[in-house]
Amino acid sequence: MPFIPHTESDVREMLDAIGADSVEALFDEIPSALRVDGLRGVPPAMSEMEVTRLMEARAGEDATCLNFIGAGAYEHHIPAAVWQIATRGEFYSAYTPYQAEASQGTLQLIYEYQTMMSRLTGLPMSNASLYDGASALAEAVLMAVRANRKSKARKVLMPTSVHPAYRAVTRSIVGSQGIDLVEVPFDRASGRVDVASLSGFEGGDVTALVIPQPNFFGVMEEVDALTDWAHANGAQAIGVVNPVSLALLKAPGEWGAKGADMVVGEGQPLGAPLSSGGPYFGFMCCRKEHVRQMPGRVVGRTQDADGREGFVLTLQAREQHIRRSKATSNICTNQGLVVTAATIHMALLGPEGLERVAGTCMNNTAALVEKLKAKGFEVAFSGERFHEAAIRLGADAEQVMQRMADEGVLGGYPLGRDDPDLKDVLLLCVTETKTEADLDAYVEALETAVSSVR
C-alpha cells in the first residue's frame, strides 16, 4: 500500500481503541446505496520505477525545440540553486504559515519577496502573490472598482494591446459582477494605444484604465501620458508589466505625474520554468492607501512577546476565512512555492544581473530583427520594443509556425489567432538564452518555411 504505514497489528489495535470491528464499519454512516464498487477508469497501481519510465518517455516525446515563442511566457536561465533550495522539504511540504512561530522561514521569505516586488515596481505595497498574470489583472480590475469610490460606472478601459488571454480571463472572472469592460483599440501603425483615441471617454465616468508595458506585441506604451490621462479623468491607472523589463523600464510607481495606482503582472520570468504554462504566479503592488482593498495574502513584520522581530500573515480581516461573502476576493491558496523560487532567483541575479538579462534580451531581439530586415521581412509595428517583435511574413503565420516546428524551431506566436487582420504576422521573442548561431538558425528556418508556404 503506497504511502500507508499501517501493519495488520496496527489496524487491529486501532480498531480496538475505536471499538469498531473493521475499517469498513467506520463508513457505516454512508448510505450503502451510494457506495461505489471499484474504479474501473483508473488503471492499476504502478511502481515508482514504472511511472518513472512512463514519464521519461512522455517527457521525451515533446521534442526539445529551439524556442522563440514568448507571448506571455518567457524562457530565461534559472540558476540551479533556485529550485534545489525551493524544493527542500521544509519549503515544499509546508502549508500556508498559519502558525507563524513555526513558519518563520516561509514568512520571512515572503516579506523579502514583497520588498523586492515593491522595489521593482516602485509601489510600496505588495501581496504574497496571486495565481498568474492574467487572473491578477482580473483581481486588479475588481480592486480598482473597490478602490475608486468616486466612480459609480464600474467602467474599465481595456486596450486590445493587452494580452488576449489576459483580456479573456478578466472577462471570465469579472463578468458576473456588473463591470463594464470596454475594449480600446491600439494604433495599427505604432502597435500601441494612441492617447488621443481615448478622447471619447473624457468627461465620462471611467473607473480605471489598464496600461500594459510592454504590451502584448512587445511594444512600449506611452505610460506617462496614459497614466496622466487616467488620473485627469478620475480613473485608476492599472499597470500590467513584465517584471524583467522593469530592470530597464520606468517603474510603474513613477509613471506620469503621480504614478500608477496598482500594478500586476506575470511573475514567471523571475525563476519559473516555462512548464506548459504553470505553475507561475501573479504579482500585485499598489499604493499605500489601497492596501486594504488588495486581495490575497500579505505578510507583515511585527514583534513577539519578547519584543523580538518576526513575521506574520496580516490584514486577514480582508480575507474570505474571516469576511466570508464580504471578502475582497475568494483567493486562499496562492503560488507560494513559485514565489519562493522567484525570491531566490531575484536574490541571485541582483540589480545588475537583472539589468544584464533584460538588456541582453532586448539587444538580442533587436539583432534578430535586423537580420530579418536584411532578408526583406518587415516589422509590423513602429513602436519601440522590449524583447518581442511582430514580423510581417507575407504568408500565413500559422502555417509558417507549423513548418518551422517540424524543423525543430518554435518560431513564435501567430497573431492571426486573435486578430484576423494580423494573419501574416508572427510574434517572436528572443531572450538572453539565445546565441548568434541560434539567431541564424531562426532566420534560415523562417526563410525555408515562408518560401514553402507562399
Binding site: F3, E90, A102, S118, A165, S275, T302, L337, A347, G353
Partner: protein
C-alpha cells in the same frame, strides 16, 4: 537578518547573468528607469546559505506531523517532484504546437479521465489554479446553466453556516446573494431550514461532504432531491474528498459540479501556500460550460479544445492551461496509487482520524460531535478548558509546537467554540499518532495544573507568540532600509 541586510554595493553572483554587460539597449529616455532596482547585492553563497537556513525555521510534512484539519497534509511523494520536473516537461512552452506536446497532453487527458472516474462526473477541466478558482468555475457554470435556459430569476446560493469561507466569497464573486442555513446539533444540514430556503430564486447549494464539521452528511440524497426539485443545482466542495476516495462519488450523490483540491487529495505539495490546482468536474447538463482549455483525444492524437470548440464555456481562468506542473504531480500520484490505492486512502485516513478521536476522548477531551463517526477529520472543543482554566484552542495549538507537532486548524468551523479541527491523514503511522495523543494529554494536564505555561507558549521556536494587532496597525509589508547603507554584524 534579511537578505537585504547582507547586501553590499557591487557584490554579485556573477555566473548567473550574461558575463558581458550588454551594450546600452536603445530605451528612449521617456521609458527608461531612473535608477537601478534596489534589489539585494549578494553572492551566490550568501543566497544559498540564507535561504537554506531560513528553510530550517519551518515546520513541514517532511519534518513534523502536521494534522492541519481540512488541509490534508499527507506525504508528498518525492517522485512526483522529480518526474514533473523532467527537462522535457519544464521546457515545453505553453504555446508549443500540438505535435510537439503529445507527451504532456497524454498525461493531461488521462488525468481528466481518472478524475472523472473518481468523482463520477462527465467532463473534467483542469484549468482552475486553486480550490477557490475551482469554486468560482463551478458557481459560474451554475450561473451559465440557468442563463442558458433563460432562468434569470435564480439569484441565491445556499450555503451551510459551517462552510469554508471561500464558498460565500465565491458566490458573491459570481454575482449571487448568499443564504446561510444552520447545521443540526449532530452536524447534518438542518433539513427544515433547507426546505424553507429553496425556491424559484435558488440557483444552487454549495456543500462539502464529508462536511466541514468532519462528519458525513447522511441525508445527501434527500438534500439533492429537495434542491433539484426546486430547480437548483448542487455544488460539491472537494476539500474533503480524501475521506471518501473510491468509496462514494459526488456524482452518485447527486452533485452537478465539483471542484477537487489536487494539492490535498492527490498530494501535490502545499509549497508554503501553493500552488494548488482546483480541477472541476461536471454532470451531463453542465458539460457545455466547463472552463477552457481541455484536452481531447481524436484517434491517437491529443488536441486542445478551446472556446471555439466549446462556445458556451465560461471561458478562460488562466493565461494558459492552469498549473500544469501541479497537474503532472497529481497525475504521477494517481498512477502510483492506481485503482487499488484510492479506496485505501479513504480507509486509512478514516481509521487514523477515528483512532485519534477515540484516544483523545479517552484522555478527557470533549468532542464537538461525540455521537458521530469521524471521517478523515474531527473536531475537539476546548470550551470547557477555556471556561475553567482560561486555556483556549489557540493556547493548545501554540503549546503543541513545543512538543514538536504542528497545530491542528483552530477556530474553524466558526460554529464550534474553541475548536481544533484535526486531520491526521493516512500516511502517518500509529506511533506518530500515539506520540501526538500523549502530547495532547500532557497539555491537558498542564491546562489544569499550570495553565500559564500553556498560555505563554510557544517557548522552543525562533519566536514567542506574535503581536498580530501591531502587525495590522503598524503595517510593515516591505523593508524600507537602504541597501546602500545597510550595516551587517
Amino acid at each position: 537578518m534579511l537578505i537585504f541586510e547582507l547586501s553590499r554595493p557591487g557584490r554579485r553572483a556573477t555566473s548567473q547573468a550574461p558575463l558581458a554587460a550588454p551594450a546600452a539597449p536603445a530605451v528612449p529616455e521617456r521609458f527608461r528607469r531612473g535608477s537601478r532596482v534596489p534589489l539585494p547585492e549578494v553572492s551566490e553563497l550568501d543566497v544559498v546559505r540564507h535561504y537554506t537556513r531560513l528553510s530550517q525555521k519551518n515546520f513541514s510534512i517532511d519534518t513534523h506531523f502536521y494534522p492541519l484539519g481540512s488541509c490534508t497534509m499527507k506525504y508528498n511523494p518525492r517522485a512526483s517532484n522529480t518526474l514533473a520536473m523532467l527537462p522535457g516537461f519544464l521546457r515545453r512552452h505553453p504555446y508549443a504546437p500540438d505535435q510537439a506536446s503529445q507527451g504532456f497532453m497524454a498525461c493531461m487527458y488521462e488525468l481528466q479521465e481518472m478524475l472523472m472516474d473518481v468523482t463520477g462526473m462527465k467532463r473534467v477541466s483542469l484549468t482552475p489554479m486553486a480550490g477557490a478558482q475551482g469554486e468560482f468555475a463551478g458557481v459560474a457554470m451554475i450561473r451559465a446553466y440557468h442563463r442558458s435556459r433563460g432562468d434569470e430569476a435564480r439569484t441565491e446560493i445556499i450555503v451551510p453556516d459551517a462552510a469554508h469561507g471561500t464558498n460565500p466569497a465565491t458566490a458573491t464573486m459570481c454575482g449571487y446573494t448568499v443564504r446561510e442555513i444552520p447545521t443540526d446539533a449532530d452536524g447534518d444540514v438542518n433539513m427544515e431550514a433547507l426546505k424553507e430556503a429553496v425556491g424559484p430564486t435558488t440557483a444552487g447549494i454549495m456543500l462539502t461532504n464529508p462536511s466541514t464539521v468532519g462528519v458525513f452528511e447522511r441525508r445527501i440524497k434527500e438534500i439533492a432531491e429537495v434542491v433539484h426539485d426546486a430547480g437548483g443545482l448542487l455544488y460539491y466542495d472537494g476539500a474533503n474528498l480524501n475521506a471518501i476516495l473510491g468509496k462514494v462519488r459526488p456524482g452518485d450523490m447527486g452533485f452537478d459540479v465539483i471542484h477537487m483540491n489536487l494539492h490535498k487529495t492527490f498530494s501535490t505539495p502545499h509549497g508554503g501556500g501553493g500552488p494548488g490546482a482546483g480541477a472541476v468536474g461536471v454532470s451531463e447538463r453542465l458539460r457545455p460550460f466547463v472552463p477552457v482549455p481541455v484536452v481531447d483525444k481524436q484517434g491517437d492524437a491529443y488536441r486542445w479544445l478551446t472556446d471555439k470548440d466549446l462556445p458556451e464555456s465560461i471561458g478562460r481562468l488562466s493565461a494558459f492551461a492552469g498549473n500544469a506542473g501541479v497537474l503532472l504531480r497529481a497525475y504521477v500520484y494517481m498512477r502510483l496509487l492506481g485503482r487499488e490505492g484510492m479506496p485505501r486512502v479513504a480507509d486509512f485516513s478514516t481509521l487514523n482520524a477515528n483512532y485519534v478521536m477515540a484516544r483523545l476522548k479517552a484522555k478527557g477531551f470533549d468532542l464537538a460531535f461525540p455521537n458521530r463517526r469521524a471521517t478523515h477529520e474531527f473536531i475537539v472543543t476546548l470550551r470547557r478548558q477555556a471556561k475553567e482554566n482560561g486555556v483556549t484552542a489557540m493556547d493548545v495549538a501554540k503549546r503543541l509546537l513545543d512538543y514538536g507537532f504542528h497545530a491542528p486548524t483552530t477556530y474553524f468551523p466558526l460554529l464550534v467554540p474553541e475548536c481544533l479541527l484535526l486531520e491526521p491523514t493516512e500516511t502517518e503511522s500509529k506511533e506518530t499518532l500515539d506520540a501526538f495523543v500523549e502530547a495532547m494529554g500532557q497539555i491537558l494536564d498542564e491546562a489544569r495544573n499550570d495553565p500559564d505555561t500553556v498560555k505563554g507558549a510557544p517557548y522552543t521556536q525562533p519566536n514567542r507568540r506574535f503581536d498580530e494587532v501591531r502587525a495590522a496597525k503598524e503595517l510593515d509589508v516591505a523593508w524600507s532600509g537602504s541597501i546602500r547603507e545597510a550595516s551587517v554584524g
